[in-house]
């Protein structure tokens, strides 16, 4: 662990006048990692990770997430899916979220957390439906309370804060979990949310997927902050950094933050450091603005390989298991693709039917027109 110490008041001293000042506040931001990029322990494992029945499924879920992600990207390339944002290289964060949350907690993420969604009961088929241009994909059949993918940046952070407000007002022992990207921390909504959560001591965990790039804007052009975790300090809530490619570190930080929230001690902010190995979305070409060497060096630190190395070293994993897992993932993904392709499209009527609790007359008239002109009737 290393730490970063800084004092706010000292920064106020100007070049021109030095006058006596008292230190009124002081903060530290801590960083944690358990598994380095070579798959070696850098400190003793936390309790949960000493149990193979917990650790191995985390690995399997990351592999499944990557298999899904690479298939979805392929589907887009072959015209079977719309624009798709990949989670390539960032699997540890979303898989840790899904595994740390209780079923009764509520998740409101943005759009790279497939590993979390799968564990929360969202079907692969539903995620494909959403990116395949159909609202049915946000009507999760088996995950009733989680929010759908959220495209307007950082708005979901407020939704989760509202969810946590409801939980707190009703004195429920539940938590909300939300995540946004590094770019989203520049949005007002991000700060408005963590600020309120601090004041109201809400049961919520804020994660930042710091993948270093907000489309084409690198972190150093996004903020002058040394860390994003310290933005929590401005809202009076604890912030820490973890190696976002070390699923053990992400999960350990989440466990701690969720416990704290459930104990009624309020919100936490976790900055998970990772790297966006792929393009922003399939509509983006990162080669226009990003050095390939940087990407190649980041690839050496990706999350799946390091856990695999560790599991092999612990005799918890081998080539046969790996082969079986890949086959199993492939089958699951193919099954989901089939279900996606076979799912009937939303009807034209559905454009109108969910706008209001009851269809107003004006919209009923417009629905008639749409139906009369619809291809459904041709």
């Amino acid at each position: 662990m290393h730490s970063l110490d800084y004092t706010l008041t000292n920064n106020l001293i100007t070049h021109h006048e030095i006058f006596m000042q008292q230190l009124t506040a002081q903060f530290s931001i801590y960083y944690s990692q358990f598994l380095n990029e070579k798959g070696e322990l850098t400190q003793p494992l936390p309790d949960f990770a000493q149990d193979p029945s917990v650790l191995v499924p985390l690995y399997e879920m990351m592999v499944l997430t990557r298999a899904f992600d690479s298939k979805a990207t392929m589907l887009q390339r072959t015209g079977k899916l719309g624009t798709y944002p990949s989670s390539y290289g960032q699997e540890a964060i979303s898989v840790a979220i899904g595994s740390a949350m209780q079923p009764t907690d509520v998740f409101a993420g943005y759009y790279r957390e497939y590993g979390a969604h799968f564990q929360r009961g969202v079907k692969m088929e539903e995620i494909l439906l959403y990116w395949g241009g159909d609202e049915q994909g946000s009507n999760f059949a088996e995950c009733k309370e989680d929010f759908p993918h959220c495209v307007p940046i950082a708005t979901q952070v407020l939704h989760a804060t509202g969810i946590a407000t409801a939980m707190k007002l009703r004195k429920q022992p539940r938590c909300a979990v939300t995540i946004c990207g590094d770019g989203a921390t520049s949005e007002g909504d991000f700060y408005e949310a963590i600020n309120l959560a601090g004041v109201w001591k809400l049961p919520i965990v804020y994660l930042i997927n710091n993948n270093q790039w907000a489309i084409s804007v690198p972190l150093k052009l996004q903020t002058a902050c040394q860390t994003l975790a310290q933005k929590g300090i401005a809202a009076g809530i604890p912030g820490e950094q973890v190696d976002g490619n070390d699923i053990i570190a992400v999960r350990a930080a989440l466990d701690k933050a969720l416990d704290r929230a459930r104990r009624g001690e309020g919100p936490s902010l976790i900055e998970a450091l990772t790297y966006r190995l792929g393009d922003h979305t399939t509509a983006d070409d990162a080669r226009r603005y990003r050095d390939e060497n940087e990407v190649n060096s980041a690839k050496q630190k990706e999350p799946i390989k390091r856990l695999q190395k560790f599991l092999v070293a612990q005799n918890l994993w081998d080539e046969v298991k790996e082969k079986n897992l890949l086959t199993h993932c492939q089958q699951q993904v193919e099954k989901a693709v089939q279900a996606y392709e076979n799912r009937p499209h939303s009807s034209v009527s559905e454009m109108f039917d969910y706008m209001y609790a009851q269809l107003p007359n004006e919209l009923a008239e417009q629905r008639e027109i749409a139906l009369a002109y619809s291809k459904e009737n041709k």
Partner: protein, 329 residues
């Protein structure tokens, strides 16, 4: 709270909020300065003391936050009723209102929804500072998925707000600030809601239909009395629910009178008056005996208060417009 002299519009709002806070345990009132202070217009006066700080919540100063947390609260089954202090301060909340509040039901195919009330004082006329006197109802009315309701009397404010708080849709509830303390009415605290998809007929007449809403209904009614002295009997409609529009009531009246003037304080271009005029042209052209005229605020920035009554449609402008349509053909 009902007294023999009646209560003001703002007191009717408080009365409705109190009624529903008692009736609906899921209802939560929140906003800036609404707790201990009772709101900048006193619309929530005494509510926190009466219902507690976990039903009536003072929040930090951030409008996007107000609207954004309401999304999560509503999805969890609470009924958020939030106050924006003035219409000019609602813009930071637009992203949440337009991108989420209005869309959540549709985008999740009904799995999640956002029934809530966003109360916004609107319009000019009380010598308020800059950004405190806007009338931008058309922006909300243009947004699919929202309901837009505007109060014009203490009785209707009470009933419409109850209707809004019991709706399963997100409702933008507008309260004209110059009516807050203008008149008093007896408002029985009976918990009876008014429909939020119907117009109100304020005055019957056979010669011309005057369509208005919010504060402008008052100049419209006094204009109608003036016109009556000249032998012109105007039918006056308070639209009240701007979205969705009760075109049936409006059509019925215009088909009877054959003449129509639309009066609103908001700027003219793309105002709700344009929508009503367009629908009348589509559906009642053969009944019309004169062009539809609009008497509206100008397409200018709402002026600071020295000129605000030059901007707000006056009784005289309404009378003149009616005489113009009566003289046609």
């Amino acid at each position: 709270m009902t007294t023999s002299d009646g209560i003001t519009l703002v007191e009717a709002i408080t009365q409705a909020l109190a009624y529903e806070l008692s009736a609906n345990p899921n209802l939560v009132v929140f906003g800036e300065d609404i707790g201990a202070n009772g709101g900048v217009f006193r619309a929530t006066a005494g509510l926190q003391q009466r219902f507690g700080a976990d039903r009536v919540l003072d929040t930090p100063l951030a409008e996007s936050m107000l609207a954004g947390i309401a999304v999560g609260m509503a999805a969890q089954g609470l009924k958020p009723v939030l106050e924006i202090q003035f219409m000019g301060f609602v813009y930071p909340a637009f992203d949440e209102i337009v991108n989420h509040i209005s869309r959540l039901r549709n985008r999740t195919r009904g799995r999640l929804s956002c029934p809530m009330v966003i109360r916004i004082p609107c319009g000019g006329g009380i010598h308020a500072p800059e950004h405190h006197s806007e009338s931008t109802e058309a922006i909300f009315a243009h947004t699919p998925g929202l309901r837009v309701v505007i109060a014009a009397s203490p009785v209707r404010a009470y009933g419409l707000l109850l209707g809004a708080m019991r709706s399963n849709d997100p409702v933008i509830f507008l309260e004209p600030i110059r009516l807050y303390r203008k008149t008093k009415q007896i408002v029985p605290d009976n918990g009876i809601a008014l429909p939020i998809d119907k117009c109100f007929l304020l005055r019957e007449g056979s010669h011309v239909t005057l369509i208005s809403w919010g504060a402008s209904t008052h100049e419209t009614l006094t204009a109608a009395e003036k016109l009556s002295q000249q032998g012109i009997e105007a039918e006056v409609i308070d639209v009240a629910s701007i979205k969705p529009l009760d075109m049936d009531t409006i059509l019925q009246s215009v088909e009877k009178t054959g003449r129509c003037v639309i009066i609103h304080e908001a700027p003219r271009t793309c105002g709700v008056g344009a929508e009503i005029a367009a629908q009348l042209a589509e559906k009642a052209l053969t009944s019309l005996q004169a062009p539809i005229l609009r008497v509206t605020g100008y397409d200018t920035v709402m002026p600071l208060y020295r000129l605000e009554y030059e901007y707000i449609p006056s009784e005289q402008r309404i009378v003149d417009a009616v005489q113009q349509v009566m003289a046609f053909g």
